[in-house]
Point group: C5
């Protein structure tokens, strides 16, 4: 095992060997295996946005096997999806790539109110499907906070007892936040902190903007002159906010569609000390060849093979 | 076992042998046994609409034994009903036809609010009654989404652990949808996707119209030129939306009352790659002879014996 | 055992021997034992209406032992009451009469809102008190439907597993119904159907009026010319709605206070195929001698000894 | 054991020997031991009204040990308090006096809404502290009725299974009642009936006034000419409403502060057939000597030593 | 073991040896070990206020190991933090300082409504991390009282059964209180009483002001002339309100930032009989050297080494 991976595993000293083994699986698999960086393929958009919006651009994606194959061929560290998508391929692709079962999901048919996903899977589901980790979305800022935090508390405890890793998507959203505030630097850093305090091993946030949302935070950012001018600086601040870099922190690809823009974002994440990316739509909505090339470029950046 | 049934069972590789055996029972029973097509008789209208509205047209239907006999004589693949109706015949007709216990039901005495059926049976009830599957209705689009999704999550997990198959009725309905939107092509396709992601083995939806409900979906349907002009095309799109055809997808008979119109609908389902029909009121509200002839015609279409 | 009782037990083929034995106890006990008809004494009015309104007219009724004695001396098939009343006599009168523990109750101190009784006893309470059955009230039409249906689902499943019978009081009431609608023929028939579908062995409804509440039902009653002109006809329709007579359906005494009027009602129930009566206030609010004579008359009608 | 105690225990024939033994402990302890009368010291005012309002008048009462000593020295039948107060003395005073653990409590910092105490202890807490009984407050008339009744249902069942006695404080309060109605004779009698039906072994109510709250009850009280003119008559009616005197019914001291007035109330309770008093503030807010003299007078009245 | 510690342990006679051993660990550790006084380092501000507001002033604090080291070097009695912070150091610092796992937490992204923290850890988490105690925040005065009290009831019972101590942060807040009332002397004393009655072993409150919030309390404070003019007097009253000093009562550092002011407060707490302080922001937001000096001064005051 690489020194970097051993160093990272060292941060999780409170976890049982089973959980650390599964973290090692995530870190050691694929083209970035051993580097301490990760690129994960997540495909929950069929649930979250509907099938046509997710898969019509590249209809191969309607087939659940396609995403296993894409993640394997691209050399991703792991593939993350809801129950149905994993059930539809876990046997056929058993042992080929670490799996992450997303345990809660929203859809776009129900609107309004403070956001709170439905719980759609269990830790035992993750075990029977051979997964290495559970995934769970929280929406800090939502009025349903206690429900979501209570769910991940219980699921996380069970996952750790049963030797799985815990990946938390931490997306601020809800009554107390402006739309702009959802990606504000103070709010994203706070979201990373909350996920870490809730016991996540791996944390996923969105790339933060330079906006500062909360007045009480603004005073501190100004007084302490926290540098948040560039994306790399902001990534560095969020990494710091996740236990000073001692928790694996990865970033979603966000809305960006233009490949050069994405690569610039990836470079900033890398330079700011981020651990990697979790890239869904920008991967599986392209034809396979393009997607492999695209993911290859991303991985090359993280691997330090390209600037 | 026919090659087609073996192929279908191959899609459910994550399931235990018990569940696959019960899926095989559904697929191998009756006149369509072995074809990969299914016609199921469901009788929950007594609960949903009341006894007179359901059975007065053909009073034999007040007797729970009638529906067992109808399903057996017609050569249906399975008979689905709520707890009381199955308890009243399961012993007498044991081993004669696969049974599906509907685990939740609504009635028409309580109105208003976002729809959420009452849970009226358990997985252990299904086991003690000798059922092959549980049935469960979800209403995507309802504000009670999390409650329903959470229930099927738990019931589905238990059913799979205990070797049963899971059939999900996925009927969009609720605050976020227009009346027309409940059968819109984008919404029905989405409903099929959700049921599949929730882990259903068999999914029941309504035949979709050409209406597209959601603005974000409309853009995609237009950009990608998804063909939804004919019912067969729409069925094909919904089948694709259910894991590219790798989940059994069947259609309800809907409101149509005119026999030729129903047969045309059935042909479109067949031609679009649908797996079959679940036909309640159009069967048991006719006199027995007529019902058998009617169901025979439907099965002949699916069996490819008639155009 | 009489042929009629054997026939009735035959309807409950899905139940375990313990439950069928307890159904047989109800059917074989008392003056109507073996006839397939039942007269049950229920005393939950102390809880539902308060002590003075229930017992001041005949103060003997304040004493819980009185009702055991009344039911035994009158030769009733069973005695039904809430936890406290049964606890206060179950030991002293053990083995003298089948008991039904009412597991939920309302009081008249809390008003407003959709009705939902409090759960006040358990299946294990019923077992330790030597009961033959549990009793449970549902209010179809109430916005709290899912809560009540969910409770009886769980309690009914447990009772059946532990060899008890399940008696459901099905009283339509709540936001969706007019006051007149609570006893409308379509609504009472629907209430009987719901209780049967929920798995009740014995169903108690109120004598229906000729009013038809729901527009969708009215069309069917008129089109199918369902006869509901006389009480006997209406009883026949409700019996039919309870699985075509294959569930034990009994009627409450209602508000009637005049003895001849009650006897006429009882005759109509008998002639319409009803299985009997459950008579509370009209029994225990009379002096013992009058009550015994009154109940004797009712039983004679059911036994066919008087016209 | 005295005949009276044996007679009383005879009313609880449905209970296990452990529970009857604990009822005997309550009845046999202290100066009134064996008489069938009880005087219990309850100290939950620190929780309900705050420490200064409860204990500043006699600061010894801040110390939890004081109340154990007061109850022991006065010769009370039992001492009742919330978890913290009992934990703080149960070891030191083990075996000196029967204890009752109050399992739910309110405070005066949160106002408004229908009253519902917080559950603050468990049956297992009562067992580990060596208690003879659990105590629980219900507020009949509150919109939170189902929650409270459901809690005492479960706690009472567990207590009876584990050999403890169940004491219910039944205080009508909430949306459906006027302030005056909370102590109206019809409402207090109803509250006693509800507690008895819920399975309480010992019931505590407030001394009722002559007011009749509910119109439907008023008609009955007038028609049946129920005597409620004097407190003794009203006590007799409430005792009757608690299963015709076959449940132990005790009365709280209420607001009265004047010793002669209290003694007159106690005499009325005795003469009306009440089983005793539960006196908190009027005991522990006096200096120890006065309190002992005061409680001694009360007990002498119940023992029949003074008129 | 010192006599004082033995005396204190004597107050917890109802607890099992495991719990008393853990209380002894808290009392015997660090520079104040054996004195019966405690200074605890709590670091939940990252969760409660966000990372930058908590740690930017002294960026070492982003690293979870920093707080372990600070607490150890300063000679604190214990270190208290949420799940994530303890998981990130419990293995590395095992056996170096007693730990308290905070089991519920709020964040500042969700506003409005009655306050109720999310449950974020379990008793079993505390055990696997080697903690001596659980920590839990209640907000007396909140409309969510029953939820919080019910949670600590269950968690406290489990903790005591499993040999842990229970520390309760009791912070009045919510609909029924004015902002000023949250630290009013009557309200803080009441909050201490509630925590004690709920079974807390150690209680944390805020230093009270001289304001009296509740009218009913005001009458008593005036009538009984309770001295609340100085902070020491007020501390004495709150200590008295926590079972007359027989529960360990400590005080938070509050908002004060000026070191001399804090030391004056600490002297008042000591002189009023308080058991110590729990000081977060005023410790870890200073550079390490200053923080050690600051905490040293506080401990010297409690140890009686300085006036």
């Amino acid at each position: 095992m690489s020194e970097r991976v051993q160093e990272i595993l060292g941060w999780y000293g409170s976890d049982c060997p089973g959980t650390r083994m599964n973290l090692a699986r995530l870190l050691n698999h694929g083209r970035l295996g051993g580097t301490g960086r990760l690129v994960i393929l997540p495909v929950d958009q069929g649930f979250e946005h509907g099938p046509a919006r997710s898969f019509a651009a590249n209809p191969e994606g309607y087939d659940p096997r396609y995403h296993f194959e894409l993640a394997i061929k691209a050399g991703c560290n792991a593939y993350a999806a809801p129950l149905g998508f994993l059930e539809a391929g876990a046997a056929e692709f058993a042992g080929r790539i670490p799996l992450i079962l997303k345990l809660n999901n929203s859809d776009s048919l129900t609107g309004g109110g403070d956001p709170c996903p439905a719980v759609t899977g269990s830790v035992d589901d993750a075990l029977r499907l051979g997964c290495s980790a559970i995934g769970f979305t929280i929406y800090p800022g939502s009025g349903a906070r206690n429900e979501m935090f209570g769910q991940i508390r219980a699921l996380g405890e069970e996952a750790k007892r049963k030797g799985l890793a815990v990946v938390v998507w931490s997306y601020p959203r809800g009554g107390g936040l402006s739309k702009e505030g959802e990606t504000a630097i103070d709010v994203v850093a706070y979201a990373a902190q909350i996920a870490a305090q809730l016991g996540a091993h791996v944390i996923k946030v969105k790339p933060p903007t330079g906006h500062v949302e909360q007045a009480a935070a603004k005073k501190v950012y100004e007084k302490q002159r926290i540098p948040v001018g560039t994306l790399a600086e902001r990534v560095r601040h969020v990494v710091q906010s996740a236990f000073n870099g001692r928790r694996i922190l990865i970033f979603s690809g966000g809305e960006a569609k233009d490949t050069p823009a994405i690569m610039e974002e990836v470079r900033a994440i890398r330079d700011g000390g981020g651990f990697g990316s979790i890239i869904g739509r920008n991967s599986f909505q392209r034809p396979l060849g393009e997607a492999l090339e695209f993911l290859g470029q991303v991985m090359d950046i993280y691997a330090g093979k390209t600037k």
